[in-house]
Symmetry: C2
Subunit: 213 residues, 2 copies
Amino acid sequence: MGDLTLFTYDWVPEPPRGYVRDLRVRWALEEAGLPYVVKSVSFRERTAEHFVHQPFGQVPWLTHGDLSIFESGAILLYLGHLSETLLPAETRARSEAVSWLFAALNSVEMASLPWTLAPEQKQFDGFVESRLKHLEPVLAAREWLAGIFSIADILMADVLRLVDRFEKLADYPACRSYVARATSRPSFLQAHADQLAHFAAADAANSELPRVG
Amino acid sequence: MGDLTLFTYDWVPEPPRGYVRDLRVRWALEEAGLPYVVKSVSFRERTAEHFVHQPFGQVPWLTHGDLSIFESGAILLYLGHLSETLLPAETRARSEAVSWLFAALNSVEMASLPWTLAPEQKQFDGFVESRLKHLEPVLAAREWLAGIFSIADILMADVLRLVDRFEKLADYPACRSYVARATSRPSFLQAHADQLAHFAAADAANSELPRVG
């Protein structure tokens, strides 16, 4: 089938570092112990080739041999089919993991997005809270969403990390300790360190260029 | 494996009728010719049993025997594994359909949501437009997202229908004709008529109740 290659930007500004969505894919690959390489595409100049793989000019995408997959949810689901460490084989647990994977993206991330875009606008607070208040008892009652750790937890924890960054999890202790539990895994720590190092290397490379003007 | 049962609300107010997300599931079931029944749960009183199946108290969810699946994306993916009419079996086409299924939800619906929630706020216009401008050439060049019709088209067309309802597709003729092409399919027309009839029946039933006070 060939190598797994993850594509991300060559550089991003400081604020999104540690939150660029290639992190989700790095985390899953580390969790499963799948060998992979990371390649960069230009952040400043999105090429025609970039749009062939990611039609909106975003990252990440993943290639596996001549297969090219975009959208972090689709990539994680694909990796789940390569490794039972990421997606349990048993029908019921697998079905729960897939439902929760979509819930992380479509019920929680989608509800938190208007608020992260415009946190000063109180009109959006209720939307993200309508999700967190129902997620709180779920996460108080179980360690991981599908019973055992899966790609659903990678997505949900990554989505909640951003909510936590904006200090919105203070009233949801089970959500907050779930994020702490997930992000203390060695696979997350490795993925996070690797993403920071990737972008820091770009800064170092740029500073070595002769200045013009 | 048992029957396929789709759960939706017993009643909703007028504005969302024709847009409640059980429509996506009805459409897929009609498209595949899979037999199913529809059951109602209370819109006004969300029971504890409701939250067991849909942790955020939303609809739809689908049961198949003793399996219960929530999130419209997860349900469509599940149905895709039951019918090649919904999800092609060939590896490359299947992978493209799954990437586009997530793109419909996470790149297009997520980008259009802040704007549909607050269309008067011009700050959100650019976000949905940043997606539509890249989707336009894709849909100008192909009939369906994965080459042949799939669950990706059910989700993308349903997402774009709502954007079109708010008159935001005027500058994107390929997106608009894609919506027209998808929603002229007999399976969509049946699903749409069934949802309207379902909620209209609730009105009729309510009007037969004796008035109190």
